[in-house]
Structure formats: structure tokens, C-alpha cells
Amino acid sequence: MSLLEVSGLSKRFGGLHAVKDVSFRVEKGTIKAIIGPNGAGKTTLFNLVSGVIPPDSGAVLLRGEEVNGCPPHRIAAMGVSRTFQQIRLFAQMTALENVMVGVHPRSRAGFLAGMFHLPWTWREERDIERRAREALELVGAADLAGADATSLSYGQQRSVELARAVAAEPELLLLDEPAAGLNMRETSELAKLIKRIRERGTTVLIVEHDMGLVMNVSDEVAVLSYGEKIADATPRAVQKDPEVIRVYLGDDAC
């Protein structure tokens, strides 16, 4: 059974068929990339998988269980975490606090426990902080723990956001254009980091423009064009696919 299976997924926005009958699988322990030109429906696909928007038809199966229609927080609780194309850090919170929110699915202290500072929450609180610090360390941002998250540089904010997404040690990590705005050195570090995250047991689904990164880290690549899947194979095979080349480079003149 695949960790994630998407079958026949469709989504329309008015006249725009953003995602058209898309199916693919992500096997446990792999890194899969979804590529495609701008407007191909990649981010819509991500939002469908993470529950931000419901599909018009089709199904999203997590470990064989249908999850479409579940709200984002339920899907997160099932072990799916994500980053955003536009960085969405929590303002007026430190980097560490931001990442501690990431541990939310792995902790349970509620309103009453918080209000009365119940003893069992003390250990949980320490555990949350430990996991958060580990995640910051993983992305190489341990020294940023105390900094106000939104005052950090762009690249640092990307790191903190990634730490927040992996802090709960999710089963499936969705990365929405993680290399956007990064320079070459930062991008190659990101590639190493994504591989390290996979080694920790997290399966990764990544939407990306940066071909170098995609071809470097992915086990499989699916290509979208105008909402439809036109290829789904190993990076090497996809690079040679004439349809993919046509979509990316355009038709031969005349």
C-alpha cells in the first residue's frame, strides 16, 4: 500500500480546470517531485492533498484511508506536514516558539491543562521544546531559536519554516517550492537536508521549479501541464520524455 495515493483528482475554479483527473502514488520512504510550468496546478494539488480545499471529484488516500473532505488540522494530525510557497511564519513569536507549534500534533495539553498548569504537562512541555530544538538543529538554525521569527532573513525564515514542518516527525512532508528565492549554495544545502529528512523516516512530496534540485533529490518525478499529468517516472526518464520537453521548451518552430 502506498503512503499517499491520489486518484482521479479534479478541481475547477470557475472556468479554469486547475487539476484534471490527476492520479499518482507516493511510496513510503521515497522523495517524489511534482514539476510543471507556472499555472500547471501544482499548488492546487498540494492544497487538495493537505485539505485546504476540497476536491470536486477523485480521492486522496493516506495509508489507504480516504481523507479528502478532512480539514487541514485533521490531516496534519494524521502525520502530514507542509511548508508554504509564501512563507507563513507566526509573527510576534520566536523561531523556537514557531517550531514548538509544529509539535502540536504530537502533544495534547488542552485548555484546562494549560490554565491550571497541570504537572503532567510540564514533561510534555519539555518534550515539545526538545523536539523543537532538535528540528532547528537539523536545519542548521539552532542559533536562531531566540530570534523573533519574522525579523529573520528570507533564507533563515525558510529554514525555520522547514524546522516547524519536520518538528512533529511527520510521515509525509509536503514542500511547496522550498528553493524559491534561495541562492545556489543554499539550494544545494537544501538538497542535502531533504535527503537527511528522508533518512529520518519521513516521506517527501515536493513541488518545485528548480530542476537541479528536483533531479538531484527525487526518486520519482510527476509532470503536470495545464492541470493534467503528462509524465510520471524516474528523473532520468522524465528528462528524456518528448512530451515533457515539448511542454517545457515549446513546440519546434514550424
Partner: protein
């Protein structure tokens, strides 16, 4: 964090004692009456601070929750059920001492709810109303949420004003004292002034302890996350709708506790307590105290409410709170107690130029 929280509550209690000693030394013991009343209004502001400053949700209807608490306590402790004494429910409640006989206005005997029972009903009723209102209303954001809660406040005010059984425009009177602990009752009377002052501010200290624990907990972080980026919070597994609702209900219950106690202390309550201007006043206090600053809100509430109750603002009472709100929004949207003069000048300049500030 833990140490600093208890240290702050201890400091707060020291300030409470200092104010009482000061009032005594200045031979103005009657100040304690308004200070006690201010404490109960401060409970509303503290709850609203959690809702607005931490969870980022506005409410222009919190005066209504204060009034629901106050009216529930006032009504149940003054309603006379003697005529229905034979009814099975009344008989059972009387046997359980939920209903107790007491002297009525005309020297006769009336059968009403015990203040504790009335208090419990007030809390549960407010919880239920806040829940029912919160579920649909909290789907709204920003201006829309403000307008919806304003509408709710207006409805409660109109109902109170139109209900003969709740005294219509006169409100409720002759509400008995609340026997809180053996020897200590929440009620007027000069002899109990000092005790009442400590009960009221002790309650505020308790609320502060509980709320500051909450904001430093896992839930508190989640609330601040909702404030910062709702969609991202949801993607981290935070049940945004549920957290907003629970915060709304919690702040409403705190308001109701304040309303219930103040009604016993003043021996009555009127419909003006549910008025829109009261709600605006609470919002102004939270804004001055600083969004996301529980302690700032409490300090601001204590000072402004006391001054207002002593009548220092005269007939301009409501206007003062309106002006305060405008000034805060223009010059220091983060609150006066976090005032940053240079930043304020910059913000004010930008705003007066009309460029606005994003977010």
C-alpha cells in the same frame, strides 16, 4: 517562565495591598468601593485580552456576557417562588437548599435561589449562550466579526430593556449579598468594604494566574499562531475553529463571573451594563493595555475604570474611552504600555498621510 509568572502575581498582590493601605492612609476608604467595582470590570477586560490580544478575535459584545451573568444571578436570587412551593421541581430544589427562604422587601418571606446556585446557573447559561453565538459568529473575520458581535450585544441589551420581569429600564434591585466564604459576603455595606476589596482583586489575581498559565502553554502558543497565520496554524494540526470557540467561551464566562459578583456587590444591575458603549469601553481598555499583554490590560483597566467610576471624566465618560481608542490606534496600536515613541511617530505619520499600514 514559571518563576516569573508567580513572581508577577505576587507583585500584583503586593500592589493590591499597597493601594488599600494608601487609601486607608489617605483617609479615603470609600475609594475601595469603586476599586472593588473596577476589579469586576477588570475580569471582563482580562478575558477579552485573551480573545483579542492572543487569539486575535475581536468582540464588541462582551458587555452582554457580563450582563447575562449579572442578570442571571440577580434574577434568580430575587425571584420569589413561594407560590410554586407545591410544585415538584421547586420542592426538590428547596430540599436540596438550592432554593432558600429569605426576607423580602416588605418584611415577608420569599423563596429564591441560593447565590451559589444562581452563580452556577449564571456561569452555565453564559457558557451555553457564548457557545451558541460563537459557533456561527466565529466563522467571520475582522470587521464582520466585530459587526456580528455588536449585533449580539445590541440584541441582549434590547431584550433586557424590554423584559418586565427583569425590571426593564430600571433593572434589578435588592439583590442579596453572596456568602462566598464563611464570614465573607460579596455585598455592599461599609463594614465589609476592605474584605470585599480583597475578594474582588483576589479573584482578578486568580484569573491572571490561570490566564497567564494558559498563554504560556501549548494552547497559548496555538492561539498566538492563529493570530499570526491561521492557515499555517491549521496545517500544524491546530483545530482553529475549536480553539477560537473555546477562547471565546472562556472570556465570556470570565465576563459573566464579573457581572455576577458585581451584581451582588452593588445589590443590583441595570440594562446599561449590556450597552454597546460598555463593550467599546472594554475593547478600548484592551487596546490601551496592549494587544497580547494581560498585565498591561489589567493595569489599564484598574486605573481607567476607577477614574470613570469616581466620575473624574464627568459627562464625557464615554467620549473619553472613544478618544482613548482613537489615540491608541493612531499612535501606538500595540498598546500604550509598550509605547515606543519613535515607532509611534513613524506609524502616526504614515497613517495621517493615508498610506495605511498593512496587516
Amino acid at each position: 517562565m514559571l518563576g516569573s509568572r508567580y513572581a508577577r502575581v505576587a507583585l500584583f498582590l503586593a500592589a493590591v495591598v499597597a493601594v488599600q493601605l494608601l487609601a486607608h492612609a489617605a483617609e479615603k476608604p470609600f475609594f475601595l468601593t469603586q476599586l472593588t467595582m473596577a476589579a469586576y470590570y477588570t475580569l471582563v477586560a482580562a478575558g477579552l485580552s485573551l480573545l483579542m490580544g492572543y487569539a486575535g478575535q475581536i468582540s464588541l459584545g462582551h458587555a452582554a456576557f457580563f450582563a447575562i451573568g449579572g442578570y442571571a444571578s440577580g434574577y434568580l436570587t430575587t425571584v420569589d417562588l413561594t407560590a410554586r412551593r407545591e410544585g415538584p421541581l421547586v420542592a426538590v430544589l428547596a430540599r436540596l437548599h438550592v432554593l432558600v427562604p429569605h426576607a423580602d422587601l416588605y418584611g415577608g418571606e420569599a423563596l429564591s435561589f441560593h447565590p451559589w446556585a444562581a452563580f452556577a446557573v449564571a456561569v452555565v447559561l453564559t457558557l451555553a449562550v457564548a457557545w451558541l453565538i460563537g459557533v456561527p459568529v466565529l466563522k467571520l473575520k475582522g470587521h464582520y466579526l466585530a459587526m456580528a458581535t455588536l449585533g449580539f450585544g445590541t440584541i441582549v441589551y434590547s431584550i433586557l430593556l424590554a423584559s418586565e420581569s427583569l425590571g426593564a429600564a430600571d433593572g434589578l434591585g435588592s439583590v442579596p449579598p453572596f456568602p462566598l466564604l464563611p464570614g465573607i459576603s460579596v455585598g455592599g455595606g461599609r463594614a465589609a468594604r476592605v474584605a470585599n476589596y480583597y475578594v474582588a482583586w483576589g479573584l482578578v489575581a486568580l484569573a491572571l494566574l490561570v490566564l497567564s498559565s494558559l498563554v504560556e502553554s501549548r494552547v497559548g502558543r496555538a492561539l498566538r499562531a492563529i493570530h499570526g497565520a491561521e492557515d499555517a496554524a491549521a496545517s500544524m494540526g491546530v483545530d482553529v475553529a475549536r480553539y477560537k470557540l473555546k477562547t471565546f467561551v472562556l472570556s465570556a464566562v470570565l465576563a459573566a463571573v464579573g457581572g455576577s459578583f458585581l451584581t451582588h456587590f452593588n445589590a443590583g444591575i441595570g440594562p446599561a451594563e449590556a450597552g454597546v458603549m460598555k463593550s467599546v469601553r472594554y475593547v478600548a481598555i484592551v487596546a490601551v493595555g496592549g494587544m497580547g499583554s494581560l498585565w498591561g490590560t489589567v493595569a489599564t483597566s484598574a486605573v481607567l475604570t476607577f477614574l470613570s467610576l469616581r466620575g473624574y471624566f464627568g459627562t464625557l465618560d464615554d467620549a473619553v474611552f472613544g478618544a482613548v481608542l482613537i489615540a491608541v490606534m493612531l499612535f501606538s496600536p500595540d498598546g500604550v504600555l509598550r509605547f515606543d515613541p519613535r515607532g509611534a511617530l513613524r506609524t502616526a505619520r504614515d497613517r495621517l498621510r493615508g498610506s495605511g499600514v498593512a496587516g
